[in-house]
């Protein structure tokens, strides 16, 4: 099925839609060719998310409850850019994650690890004028899933990004350097090019680290600036 996929998947820089090692793709990945939409017909120029106005508490997941959550306090910060390295200001970034024990505050997560009443695991912020963003949170734990025997997801934080237009939309996951579980994770491994995969790994950053307070991780996010995909003829 891979040959029906988009050019960015062909060059290895994006995950393949059909990746049978990730079992959930088997009945959910489309099997027909994607139809190339030329840029001039791609008509949505600006996202509108007026349902929310920023609040400092939204970007500090350690302050959302009366007491502090359990776990290793971390700062995750970076810059939102397009491929031409133009910063994107005023963009909404949403983030969600498991707690330090590897449990989501979600009714369908039945992993028998403790919930933390002081951790919602959800945050949001707007990028500043230089495209930068900062979250304070807790380092998430790894957790088991049922994809294959003894399957564990590497520790990760989910990110949702709105850029300046419809084509900037991105949902992805940020990983941590040196995590041995990435080698066994079909979601991470679904990206064919190892250099592209590594763009999902945050970098420990001493300059972001706050003395006697929190470890700092840098994670820049680059959204596609243009479409270089050739037209695909359906077979």
């Amino acid at each position: 099925m891979a040959e029906i996929d988009c050019a960015r998947a062909h060059d290895g820089s994006e995950p393949l839609l059909f990746y049978p090692d990730y079992v959930s793709t088997r009945l959910r990945a489309p099997s027909q060719p994607l139809v190339m939409l030329p840029e001039r017909l791609s008509d949505v120029t600006a996202p509108v998310y007026g349902w929310w106005t920023p609040d400092d508490l939204d970007s500090d997941l350690t302050l959302q409850r009366p007491e502090e959550p359990q776990g290793q306090r971390i700062i995750v910060s970076g810059q939102l850019l397009d491929e031409d390295e133009h910063p994107i200001a005023g963009a909404l970034i949403e983030l969600w994650q498991a707690n330090a024990a590897g449990r989501y505050a979600h009714s369908r997560d039945d992993h028998p690890a403790p919930l933390d009443p002081n951790f919602t695991g959800a945050g949001r912020t707007l990028t500043r004028t230089d495209g930068r963003y900062t979250f304070t949170t807790i380092r998430p734990g790894a957790y088991p899933w049922r994809n294959h025997d003894n399957a564990w997801r590497p520790a990760h934080i989910h990110f949702s990004i709105f850029g300046r237009n419809f084509r900037h939309r991105l949902v992805t996951q940020m990983y941590f350097p040196g995590d041995p579980m990435m080698a066994y994770d079909p979601i991470y491994q679904s990206i064919p090019d190892p250099r592209a995969r590594e763009r999902l790994i945050s970098r420990y950053d001493l300059s972001l680290t706050k003395p006697e307070w929190a470890l700092g991780y840098a994670f820049d996010i680059v959204v596609r600036g243009r479409n270089a995909t050739p037209f695909e003829t359906p077979r």
């Binding site: 988009c6 960015r8 820089s13 994006e14 995950p15 839609l17 990730y22 959930s24 793709t25 088997r26 009945l27 959910r28 990945a29 489309p30 099997s31 027909q32 994607l34 139809v35 190339m36 939409l37 017909l41 791609s42 008509d43 949505v44 600006a46 996202p47 509108v48 349902w51 491929e83 390295e85 949403e94 983030l95 969600w96 989501y104 505050a105 979600h106 369908r108 959800a122 989910h158 949702s160 419809f166 084509r167 939309r169 991105l170 949902v171 992805t172 996951q173 979601i187 991470y188 679904s190 592209a196 995969r197 763009r199 999902l200 820049d220 680059v222 596609r224 479409n227 695909e232 359906p234």
Partner: protein, 179 residues
Amino acid sequence: MRAPTPSQTVGPFFDFCLTPNTRHGRLFPASASRLRLRVRVLDGDGEPVPDAVVEIWQEGDAPGGAPSFGRLGTQEDGTCEFDTVRPCDPAEGAAHVNICLFARGLLRHLHTRLYFGGDPRLPRDPVLALVPESRRATLVARAHSDDDAGSKDPAYGKDPAYSFDIRLQGPQETVFFDV
């Protein structure tokens, strides 16, 4: 040049962040041209997908306004229902709603378009013209008047309603776009 950040699946546990309530599904509460859009997501076995995120990006009912955005998670039956308006006719082609679909098992989100059944402008739409004729119907929502699909908002109860199935695989697989 910086290489783009790759996509990863939204996973199953997004709703406490992305879809914590249903108000994102009501786009234009007071417009005269309002309607209901009921979107249903089905997998390759025809089973409902109960953990998808459906985003709609659309124009308002008058030209020149800001595009609007709505986002809902699907229910156990694979559906979600937006209270919105019929977007205005574009300069070229037919009125449509852009849809971004995210779910566990989708390593990248999918783009599709919802057009309105019975719209006389459909044959002139330049995007539909890119789609093989045999598959165009997968992009056209059908109007219905049955009361069983009544809106959650009583104010919308008697407004026109359209249903749109997104089939991820199979003989009636919905057309998805590489944008």
